[in-house]
């Protein structure tokens, strides 16, 4: 009996030990960190718009120059609780002014803060993990060039167990994977591979389209088998549409329709963009036309998901 108790205790301790080990925040390898080089702010600007940073980190009603003041504060009300976007302006005390490029890259690609804490995936590092070292360097240079905003954003409002950051380490082991989601263009014979791959990079990486357009499982991880197949809106009312080339749905949009929508905000039927997509569309409108076309080429050549929301 005593032996059994001791064995059980040891098992629990071992389990806890393994759990503790598995939940440890990860960081870039030394080689990956060494591959980072100080970037160029001008080249970082389109990366900034592609990444949609301002949509969460600028003030809610921000427009024009105010989109470059990244003091945070936007509240994302989700089933897990309220996430408040932090200050990522170059403030030394309240923002990321004291961060190194490696600190920034670890946050972007590993969801790990400079102090070694796990970041919540409301910050879409699960997508940003696919960004190139060059883009990370350029984006960091651009962010450093923006106006300093003083003042920390409010804390997240999360209940147990979501308020335990350590536990996110396990979540990241399950759901953080920088590999491409779609390996090959569908019916790839007629597809310009380089253009498609550029579109894939933008959609799966900085554009983080899958974070809203792909359904999540009970643990909040993306169901990659239903990639871009539509999902309930993560915040607010309604649903996020299926943007796979499905018959009777988004499949009726031509590549030119998709590129025009991203530029103008109008669907082929001249319905207008709405909801959170308004920010996304306005960000995409700032990219070179070739990038919008690449996104369209990618979206036309991925597996259609018919079981999605729309």
């Amino acid at each position: 009996m005593k032996k059994a108790v001791i064995a059980a205790l040891l098992l629990v301790l071992a389990g806890a030990g393994i759990g503790w080990g598995l939940s440890a925040p990860t960081r870039m390898s030394a080689e990956e960190a060494a591959a980072l080089t100080e970037g160029d702010a001008a080249r970082g600007e389109p990366v900034f718009w592609a990444g949609g940073c301002a949509s969460c980190h600028a003030a809610k009603e921000a427009d024009g120059e105010d989109l470059l003041k990244l003091g945070g504060g936007l509240r994302l009300e989700t089933p897990f609780g309220v996430f408040v976007a932090p200050n990522i302006s170059p403030s030394e005390t309240d923002g990321i002014g004291a961060w190194s490029l490696v600190d920034f890259a670890n946050a972007m690609t590993h969801g790990t803060s400079p102090g070694g804490e796990n970041l919540y995936p409301a910050f879409p590092y699960t997508s940003y993990a696919r960004m190139s070292a060059a883009d990370l360097g350029d984006l960091f240079a651009f962010l450093k060039s923006l106006p300093v905003v003083e003042g920390k954003a409010a804390a997240h409002e999360l209940g147990f167990p979501f308020n335990i950051r350590r536990g996110l380490g396990l979540w990241k082991r399950l759901f953080l994977d920088p590999a491409p989601v779609i390996a090959e263009p569908l019916n790839g014979a007629g597809v310009d591979r380089a253009v498609w791959e550029r579109g894939r990079y933008l959609v799966e990486g900085p554009g983080h389209c899958g974070e809203c357009h792909t359904p999540r499982d009970f643990a909040g991880g993306l169901v990659l088998a239903d990639w871009l197949g539509g999902a309930p809106a993560p915040t607010g009312e309604g649903k996020i549409p299926n943007i796979t080339p499905v018959e009777g749905g988004f499949g009726s949009w031509s590549a030119a329709d998709i590129a025009y929508y991203l530029e103008s905000g109008f669907t082929p039927e001249y319905d207008s963009v709405g909801g959170e997509m308004v920010h996304v569309q306005e960000n995409m409108a700032r990219l070179p036309a070739s990038d919008r076309e690449a996104i369209a080429v990618y979206l036309k050549a991925i597996p259609p998901i018919s079981a999605g929301s729309d």
Partner: protein
């Protein structure tokens, strides 16, 4: 005399018909506002198609698109009475919880259509460039309202 009486009867009938329409609208505001928004979509499709060069521009078509937008901008906001937030509708709850903000967006819309209607004049904007200048700002007001006051779809 008979002619006058007949005219009065006609007017009465027309008036009753109008009253009937109002009663029906009040009975089904969701159906009414969706029909209005559908006419907006059709006008945007016509105007946008001409702006993109997919439909040949004529001043009459330009005028039709602008006049439709003008009428919709003045009437649309009247069909969101309390209690019409449930049903087959993409109207977001914010229309009622933030009625002031919704009214501001409607004001932007009707201000844009007022300028467009003034530019349109009696026979419509003379050429495509004049139409673009008049109609572009009207289209520009769609998304700022849809951003907050329509359910995500």
């Amino acid at each position: 005399m008979r002619i006058i009486r007949n005219a009065m009867t006609l007017g009465l009938v027309a008036g009753l018909g109008f009253a009937g329409a109002v009663a029906q609208a009040a009975a089904d505001p969701i159906l009414t506002r969706k029909a209005i928004m559908s006419s907006v979509g059709a006008a945007a499709g016509l105007g946008g198609g001409m702006m993109k060069g997919e439909i040949a521009y004529t001043p009459a078509a330009g005028k039709a698109a602008i006049a439709t937008m003008r009428a919709a901008s003045l009437s649309f906001g009247s069909f969101f009475p309390a209690g019409s937030d449930t049903g087959d509708s993409d109207a977001a709850a914010t229309i009622w919880s933030d009625a002031e903000g919704f009214a501001t967006e409607l004001d932007k819309y009707s201000a844009a259509t007022a300028s467009a209607a003034a530019a349109s004049g009696k026979s419509g904007p003379a050429d495509l460039d004049a139409f673009k200048a008049a109609f572009g700002p009207v289209l520009g007001t769609c998304k700022s309202c849809h951003e907050t006051y329509r359910k995500q779809n």
